[in-house]
């Protein structure tokens, strides 16, 4: 190109420059869309998180200190393979989760009518947390795994006594997930899969 410049002013060829400029504009537009779009998304996400957090600390309904409520606990019987309901009074709590903890503590204590408790008597109920979607996360102490040598039948009974007790008494609970010491475990004793939440099974409850 340089060689051809002798004498005459070279006729500038604007084609490539125009294409380049066009590309730059497109790039700039894309960059703007990219960054502002991303920003908007981030903001929206933050808003969603804030929204999700906001209603969490539910206003504690001032429960009367002496209020009681009746729950049905599920135990085993020596006569058949079914779970049998037993009524028990517990102190009303400020939330379903608090009452669920009390109900499970009663389940651990055992039957007052000669039924068989499916959980080790040493079991600690550390916490129950109920999500908006209706999954109750029940966190037990390690005794639930260590104090029994589970067979399939006793492991199934332990799991479904907990699941059915919560689902039958608390409308907010649709499914139950079992944790041990705050962590997900594969099984209690090598049988039943704890990595998925359980829907209640009332087919194993005596009519």
């Amino acid at each position: 190109m340089a060689k051809e410049t002798n004498g005459k002013t070279p006729k500038r060829n604007w084609g490539p420059a125009l294409v380049l400029a066009g590309l730059l504009v497109v790039l700039a537009v894309l960059a703007i869309v990219f960054f502002t779009g991303g920003e908007r998304e981030k903001v929206r996400r933050r808003a969603e998180v804030a929204e999700a957090k906001a209603p969490a600390p539910a206003p504690p309904q001032a429960a009367e200190p002496s209020a009681r409520r009746t729950v049905t606990l599920y135990f085993l019987s020596d006569d058949d393979d079914l779970l049998h309901g037993e009524s028990r009074e517990i102190a009303a709590g400020r939330s379903a989760a608090e009452e669920a903890e009390r109900a499970l503590a009663e389940l651990v204590k055992g039957s007052t009518a000669g039924l068989v408790s499916p959980l080790p008597p040493e079991t600690r109920v550390r916490q129950v947390f109920i999500t908006k979607e209706g999954t109750a996360y029940v966190d037990f102490g390690r005794e639930i795994m260590e104090k029994f040598s589970y067979g399939s039948a006793s492991e199934l009974a332990a799991v479904y006594a907990v699941v059915d007790t919560l689902a039958a008494n608390f409308k907010a609970v649709k499914k139950v997930a079992i944790l041990v010491e705050g962590a997900e475990k594969e099984t209690l004793g090598g049988h039943i899969d704890l990595t998925q939440a359980f829907a209640p099974d009332y087919s194993i409850v005596a009519k």
Binding site: E41, V116, E133, S149, G151, S152, S154, K175, I192, D193
Partner: protein
């Protein structure tokens, strides 16, 4: 969010293709040969994986007389292995052949890695009820619930491009585990047939109470990519049955019953 969603159709399509390839629909029988071209009349040696329940530190159920589930399951499994190898053109793989810990997920992995055609887990039952007795055979209760399925698909969509990139090397990482979560759901019908046939033989040979075939979410069955059952032979928690379980004769009868059920199943799926 909006930008991400644009990539979703392609990603989910890829994920679906991947699923279709790795988790075959109800296949004839060679379940382990997922994704492999169907060889019409190729006579390949079939493989059965026998899983003696528990082991090592994990004792399983304990009898009042001191017998342990893990010991009896191993003994039955070894007898069953010998029986199959003596009489059938089957390769037998055990998930453990001595008293060692084997994580539950590794048991399914053993079956899938050797491209098992059948998976049989052997257990003896235990209950809090003193009088509980009898034998039963389990297969997996139906697969993931819609909730979990949604969660999984969301995961696949969000990680679509990554899955495409890594589709070839699924030996480690999330992809394989996700697919294994669902692996057994494709074989529920065959698993129930196998359970039914084994249960009938347990009733005929053991003389224990017939507790029938049942479904439950057993961890050891969820990831197995072929027909899979879990046999609960008698209750070690019941002293009368514990005494029987401890004998060589009874253990041999359990192995024989499973072997006969297996033979009947193979007549259905020759």
């Amino acid at each position: 969010m909006d930008r991400k969603r644009r990539g979703v159709p392609a990603a989910s399509l890829a994920a679906l293709l991947l699923l279709a390839g790795l988790v075959p629909g109800p296949p004839a029988r060679a379940c382990g040969a997922a994704g492999a071209p169907p060889w019409p009349e190729a006579k390949k040696l079939r493989t059965v994986v026998i899983d003696p329940g528990h082991g090592g530190m994990e004792l399983g159920a304990k009898g009042k007389l001191g017998h342990l589930e893990k010991d009896i399951t191993l003994s039955v499994a070894l007898k069953l292995k010998a029986l199959i190898e003596r009489n059938m053109a089957f390769r037998v793989v055990l998930t453990r052949d001595k008293d060692v810990d084997v994580p539950v997920e590794s048991r399914a992995a053993v079956a899938n890695n050797v491209k098992a055609d059948l998976f049989i887990s052997i257990h003896t039952n235990g209950s809090r009820q003193k009088a509980a007795e009898g034998s039963e055979t389990f297969f997996l209760s139906s697969g993931p619930t819609p909730d979990e399925e949604t969660r999984r698909l969301a995961y696949l969509e969000n990680n679509g491009s990554r899955i495409e990139e890594h589709a070839d090397r699924t030996s480690e990482g999330d992809v394989k585990m996700i697919l294994w979560d669902m692996a057994q759901t494709a074989y529920i019908r065959q698993s129930s047939q196998l359970a039914d046939l084994i249960q009938a033989e347990l009733n005929a040979l053991l003389g224990t109470r017939n507790r029938g075939i049942k479904q439950a979410p057993f961890k050891v069955l969820t990831g197995v990519a072929c027909p899979a059952v879990l046999v609960e032979a008698a209750f070690i928690s019941n002293p009368a049955e514990e005494k029987r379980l401890a004998t060589d004769e009874f253990q041999a009868s359990v192995a024989e019953a499973i072997y006969r059920g297996l033979s009947k199943y193979l007549q259905l799926y020759p």
